[in-house]
Structure formats: structure tokens, C-alpha cells
């Protein structure tokens, strides 16, 4: 799998990615609609690690701005 923005988050990211892909292939694509509790827990660990990197690199701010700019136009137009 791909690298992470923050090298120290890579172990957490890899665990989560593996969990997600297995759930996606074996559950979600076969019609299951519920999220996997193990994957959820792994995602929490990964995103807590990532948050610091997103804040220090100024990405959190860019994300907020992008959200503000797109919410009105794109989502409304595509809403399916």
C-alpha cells in the first residue's frame, strides 16, 4: 500500500488499509451495509496519528476551505 503523509502513521495506516480492503471485498461488495468494528477502531488510531500531520502541514485549513467552497455547488448538483 501507499505511504502516509506522516511516516510515523504508516504502521497504523497499513493495519487499517488491510482491514478495510478485506471488509470491502468480502462484506461490502457482497451486500453487507454495516461497518466493521475492528476496522473502525483501527481507523481511529490511524486518524488520531494523522491529525497532527494534517494540522502542522496546513492541510486541515485547506480542507476546511475546500469544504466551504464545494458544499454549495458540487454536492447539490451531483446529489444522487
Amino acid at each position: 500500500m501507499s505511504a502516509s503523509l506522516s511516516p510515523e502513521c504508516l504502521p497504523a495506516k497499513e493495519k487499517y488499509d488491510a482491514c478495510f480492503i478485506r471488509w470491502y471485498t468480502e462484506k461490502f461488495l457482497r451486500g453487507e451495509r454495516t461497518e466493521d468494528e475492528t476496522c473502525k477502531k483501527l481507523f481511529l488510531e490511524y486518524s488520531q496519528c494523522l491529525k497532527t500531520a494534517l494540522d502542522t502541514k496546513g492541510i486541515s485549513k485547506m480542507l476546511d476551505e475546500a469544504r466551504k467552497n464545494t458544499e454549495d455547488s458540487d454536492l447539490g448538483r451531483r446529489g444522487t
Binding site: 480492503i21 470491502y24 471485498t25 461497518e35
Partner: protein
């Protein structure tokens, strides 16, 4: 000013397989400019659709023509949003650059649907290029003009402000940025399609996808073996089939 590009393509793999490859497409030998990929958020909505937000960090310089008068840009962050509806079998994706948007904003939208026979997948791509480069200066120029009562050549004055020594006006600069951006994006679309093809071929070799679509792996041990192969084999630079791609 805005420029559009549209394209249609088809993968010889089932819709389920293509959606899986979409999440596994980086890194691959055609995407060496992608430095990292992270998941920002993921959830299932009330209708059972999977929403994912990812951020890709890409390396890449602008064409030399642009770096002559633009600050040098060595990397950028790309925001990717996707929605997978397993019931209607529609995957919608969107990528947009998060930074440098005052120079050029590129928004690529794709819709993945199964072809009639179900064995292949159609992709419709549309890309929108929008350069607002110099617009803020245009406003400043207008204000300046009001302050200087009796300026008889406002148009020329404005032109001078946007003359970068190339004899181009602001519109010309925006158009050039959009054209260069569009050319780059079309090249990028070609290599990203090749990348998806290669990822699909390798997933089939590994056995994660087969004729019926995505295969179940079953036991924990066999899953681990499959996953190890996915991680090791998909990024490999060797054995690229020259026939693969567009």
C-alpha cells in the same frame, strides 16, 4: 475563464473489481509522482453508499513556460472524494487540487458503471480547468483607476499591469495556464488509466479478482498471503506488459 475536457473509456473487468482497484491504485509503476495517500474520513450513509475522502500528496513541477513567471511549485495536495453505491452499481469520484487554486483549479469527476453484459465497466471522465490568475490584481487596478480621475486609457493601464514581459494580457495568461493544465491532465488521464489496468491485471494474477468479479479469500492465513502479494506485487516496476493501457 473555464475549459472542459470529456472522455469515455471501458475496462474489461467487472464493476466490483474496478471499484476495488480504485482504492488500491496507488502506488503503481505509472504513479511514481504520488508520494502518499491517506484516508481522511469514511462512512456509510443511510442508503448504504460508502463515502471516502482521501488526500494524495503529489510531486511535480509546472511546465517551464509557467515557472518563468509563477512561483515554483514542486508538489501539491489532491483531495479525492468517492461514493460507491453497491445497490445501483454506480461509483462516483472527484479529485481536485487543494493548493495553488489561485493559479489553476483542476476538478476531475468520474462515473463508473457496469456495461450491459456486466463483464466490463464504463468510465465517464470530465475535467474542468479554471484559472483565476491575476483576477485580484484586476480589482486593484479598477480601484486605482477610480482614484485617478481623468485617466484616459484605462484599458491600456490594465494591460500593463498584466504584462509579464511576454506581451500577454491577463486573459492570455489565464488561457495559457488552462491550456497547459489541460494538456498535462490529458497526459495524466492516460497514465492513470494505464495504472488502473495494471492494478486490475495484477489483482487478477493474485487471485483477488476473477471471472465472477471479486473473489472471497476465506481463511485468515490465505487472506494474509493474498494481502502480502497485493502489497508486494502491485507497485513492482518490472514486467510491465507493453500492451497494457489505452
Amino acid at each position: 475563464m473555464v475549459k472542459f475536457y470529456e472522455n469515455g473509456f471501458s475496462y474489461d473487468y467487472t464493476w466490483h473489481a474496478v471499484t476495488l482497484a480504485y482504492f488500491l491504485r496507488y502506488p503503481n509503476p505509472y504513479s511514481t509522482h504520488v508520494l502518499s495517500t491517506d484516508v481522511i474520513s469514511r462512512h456509510i450513509d443511510d442508503a448504504g453508499c460508502l463515502h471516502t475522502v482521501r488526500i494524495h500528496h503529489k510531486r511535480g513541477k509546472l511546465p517551464a513556460t509557467l515557472t518563468r513567471f509563477l512561483p515554483s511549485i514542486n508538489d501539491s495536495y489532491i483531495l479525492e472524494t468517492s461514493k460507491v453505491n453497491p445497490r445501483t452499481m454506480v461509483m462516483e469520484t472527484e479529485t481536485r487540487n487543494l493548493d495553488h487554486t489561485s493559479i489553476l483549479s483542476v476538478v476531475e469527476q468520474q462515473v463508473y458503471t457496469p456495461a450491459e453484459d456486466g463483464s466490463s465497466t464504463r468510465v465517464k471522465t470530465s475535467v474542468r480547468f479554471d484559472s483565476r490568475f491575476g483576477n485580484r490584481r484586476a480589482q486593484t487596478s479598477a480601484v486605482d483607476h477610480e482614484a485617478h480621475q481623468g485617466d484616459e486609457q484605462p484599458v491600456q493601464e490594465r494591460r500593463r499591469l498584466f504584462n509579464f514581459g511576454f506581451g500577454w494580457g491577463r486573459d492570455g495568461v489565464q488561457r495559457t495556464i488552462e491550456q497547459l493544465g489541460a494538456r498535462r491532465a490529458v497526459e495524466h488521464l492516460g497514465s492513470s488509466t494505464k495504472g488502473m489496468q495494471l492494478v486490475l491485471n495484477r489483482l487478477r494474477n493474485i487471485g483477488l479478482i476473477g471471472a465472477r468479479g471479486v473473489e472471497g479469500v476465506g481463511h485468515e492465513e490465505s487472506w494474509k498471503a493474498v494481502w502480502r502479494r497485493v502489497r508486494e506485487e502491485i507497485p513492482k516496476a518490472e514486467d510491465i506488459d507493453p500492451g497494457v493501457g489505452v
